[in-house]
């Protein structure tokens, strides 16, 4: 009996014009998402490589490492082409100095604001918006539509156990909708390497998990639709109800969660933190000038300029160290305070947002694509690690200290210096978190999606057992 109902569902759904049209639209959008994603990746990759080359090129001909203006760049992530997450919001460039705070700048949205307005057509968008509506479109009248057509009465005039009927219906409609959708998704997957997106085993695994998350998300809306259909008498009522639920789940809850969190936890703005830092910096500079004046009184310039220069460099180095120590301490304190509060705010926002399966799916997909909220933090962390390496390198080149500059300027009779070799610079290579890490990060949200499926599946099951089939 289960097989019979399942087959009927498959045939009933797939044989309709409604399915042909909606499936055609979805298939085109899915393929377009893969194609556009792959093209975007190629463009981003070319931009990245050009930026790296340009960074080295602008150092050519320089003779002093102190003169370089070194930048590092965030390498585009292959899966960001399908789930952009925050990859277009965060800055991709960081200007590296031997010391001091690192700031990311030059986000994609900053460069092309039009994309910030309309966003990209990526796979996450297709799943979150289009496929959830697709699920509702085919599930809203699963039960009450049969009642309206009189087929429910006619079916239950036969010896059919209700549990087998609803199971057949749920599984049948799920398979009828998901299996055809997998075809364009698989074609899209095959397109990725052909279009030049480097896909290692880790990427394939994570892409597989993204698709699994998408299917779970689709299942949530399908089981929810059947559930609502089994709770209502008329298909027009269930459609309206599901539309309201969809608007709340997809459009309102995620946004409201951020608003509530922002109202609840006050996080100091970057500008406020910067203001604190610059005020303290000015205070330190003033202290330094006082110290210099005292030092200058005690150390007159005399005839031996080189000896004076060395003494001044020594003084400056001491002052630099004091400044760095004090400034770093304050920066760390302010940053930590901000990060802590921001963390609390984010956790609160995400906890509220996870009421919505759309938020759970987006978060899981972004985690798996390594484009989640953590991307900026891991990028900055990698940049900080690189800064240490860079600082060590620069010190090995006697760069970064004022005394060298002063010495060189003072020794005007010295020979023409050799140009620097930019290729010697340590290479920055951002590596996304390991596959196991990204999957672990996505597990809670995947678990939530499974939970939503179970709740709505049993909801539909129980509601149908009590449904008036007349």
């Amino acid at each position: 009996m289960f097989k019979l109902i399942l087959e009927k569902e498959l045939r009933e759904i797939i044989g309709t014009t409604k399915f042909a049209i909606t499936f055609g639209v979805c298939a085109i959008l899915i393929l377009l998402a893969f194609y556009v994603g792959a093209r975007n990746y190629q463009v981003s990759r070319a931009d990245y490589e050009a930026s790296v080359q340009e960074n080295l090129r602008q150092m050519e001909g320089l003779t002093d490492w102190n003169q370089i203006d070194h930048r590092i760049f965030l390498k585009p992530q292959p899966l960001a082409s399908l789930v952009s997450g925050v990859s277009n919001d965060i800055g991709r460039t960081i200007e590296v100095e031997m010391r001091g705070e690192l700031r990311d700048q030059g986000s994609r949205f900053n460069e092309d604001p039009i994309f910030a307005v309309f966003r990209f057509l990526d796979l996450e968008f297709v799943f979150t918006i289009v496929l959830s509506l697709f699920a509702i479109l085919f599930g809203y009248d699963a039960i009450n539509g049969e009642k309206e057509r009189g087929t429910l009465r006619l079916s239950f005039a036969n010896s059919i156990p209700r549990d087998q009927y609803i199971l057949g219906k749920l599984v049948g409609s799920f398979l009828a909708l998901v299996v055809p959708l997998l075809v364009p998704i698989l074609i899209g997957c095959l397109l990725l390497p052909i279009l030049g997106v480097p896909m290692g085993s880790g990427e394939w695994m994570r892409l597989g998990m993204i698709i699994l998350a998408g299917i779970l998300y689709f299942g949530v809306f399908l089981t929810l639709s059947v559930f609502v259909s089994a709770m209502t008498e008329r298909s027009s009522s269930s459609f309206l109800m599901l539309l309201v639920v969809w608007i709340f789940a997809v459009l309102i809850v995620p946004r409201v969660s951020v608003l509530i969190a922002a109202r609840t936890v006050d996080v100091p703005s970057i500008d406020r933190v910067d203001f604190e830092k610059s005020r303290y910096s000015r205070q330190l500079f003033s202290e330094r000038m006082s110290a210099f004046r005292s030092w200058a009184q005690d150390n007159p310039i005399g005839d031996d300029h080189r000896a004076f220069g060395e003494k001044m460099n020594e003084f400056n180095k001491g002052q630099d160290d004091i400044y760095d120590e004090k400034m770093n301490l304050l920066t760390e304190q302010l940053n930590e305070q901000r990060e802590n509060k921001s963390g609390v705010q984010q956790r609160l926002a995400l906890s509220i947002a996870r009421i919505s399966p759309a938020a759970s799916f987006s978060l899981a997909a972004a985690d798996l694509a390594s484009t989640s909220l953590g991307l900026r933090a891991t990028y900055l962390e990698a940049a900080k690690a690189y800064q240490v390496q860079y600082s060590r390198f620069m010190k090995s080149k006697n760069a970064g200290d004022n005394r060298v500059v002063i010495s060189h300027r003072m020794g005007a009779d010295e020979e023409e210096p050799e140009p620097i070799a930019p290729a010697e610079l340590p290479v920055f290579d951002y590596n996304a978190p390991a596959t196991s890490e990204t999957i672990s990060a996505a597990l809670p949200d995947l678990g939530l999606l499974v939970l939503f499926n179970i709740i709505f599946f049993f909801g539909a099951f129980v509601a149908f057992l009590r449904y008036d089939v007349r």
Binding site: K8, E12, G15, E148, T151, R153, A157, N158, V469
Partner: protein
């Protein structure tokens, strides 16, 4: 609808054991003191009893809200009786619904079926649902021709069918189930006069095959034409029950109106 306890004293059902006496078989369909009161207090059926034997057509006549469909719904276990019971071949329907429904075929008013399936596909699905898995395409074709659906329409989707054509499909589905009892809820409501006459012939055949048929209708002429027993229902009560022999020489239309009128006067 009338409230329980207000049943008019003289609204006794004139039961006619003649058909039963003539039949040596056990009744296939039995409504025994059948009462249904809904949660809002409405009494839809009030101690209704009747029997339908194999090879017999029992027609329930009555207006809207008389309780005809409620009685059929209880046979199909779509609702449970408040008191009394219905039995199919001795099986109490609300106690063993799946066993009872295996012996029932059903045709509802306004059969819609699956609009994206062809007539053959609809028949195939419902036949299999009824446990008949060995039918061939020719079997489906034959039964559709038998109910009067032209061959050219067999492979067309039901979306383009008229009400009458869909009704014929519904009747074909009931025939295919080959159940010993058939429940027909206003089956002729969508049929034109020609199709109605064909339908009457079809019921004759089914009666000859030994099916016990319970049909609800408000079509007095069709009832007189085909019924072995006519039961007139009004406001949940079976107010009259007469066999074909008893009805000979009587004007059923007048009888129907007089019973209804008399009953309503008593009820007030």
């Amino acid at each position: 609808m009338i409230e329980e306890g207000h049943t008019p004293a003289d609204a006794q059902v004139q039961t006619e054991p003649e058909a039963k006496a003539e039949s040596k078989t056990e009744p296939m369909l039995v409504a025994d003191n059948l009462t249904k009161r809904y949660e809002d207090g409405t009494l839809a059926l009030n101690a209704v009893s009747f029997e339908v034997h194999p090879g017999c057509i029992y027609v329930m006549l009555g207006g809207n809200g008389a309780g005809k469909t409620t009685a059929i719904n209880i046979f199909l276990n779509f609702i449970e009786p408040t008191e009394g019971e219905t039995r199919v071949d001795g099986i109490v329907t609300h106690k063993e619904p799946l066993k009872a429904k295996a012996k029932l075929a059903y045709v509802s008013e306004n059969v819609m079926l699956y609009p994206n399936f062809t007539a053959i596909q609809n028949l195939d699905f419902f036949a299999k649902l009824g446990g008949k898995k060995d039918y061939s395409r020719d079997d489906y074709r034959d039964v559709l021709l038998r109910v009067g659906l032209e061959e050219v329409a067999h492979s067309r989707r039901l979306r383009g069918y008229s009400k009458g054509m869909r009704q014929k499909c519904g009747i074909a589905i009931a025939i295919l189930k080959d159940a010993p009892a058939i429940l027909l809820d206003e089956p002729t409501s969508g049929l034109d006069p020609k199709s109605g006459r064909e339908f009457t012939g079809l019921l004759d055949d089914l009666r000859s095959e030994g099916k016990a048929i319970l049909m609800s209708t408000h079509d007095i002429f069709r009832a007189k034409d085909i019924a072995d027993i006519v039961g007139i229902m009004d406001q949940g009560n079976l107010v009259m029950q007469k066999s074909r022999r008893e009805l000979e020489g009587e004007n059923l239309e007048q009888l129907y109106i007089s019973y209804m009128a008399g009953y309503m006067e008593d009820a007030t």
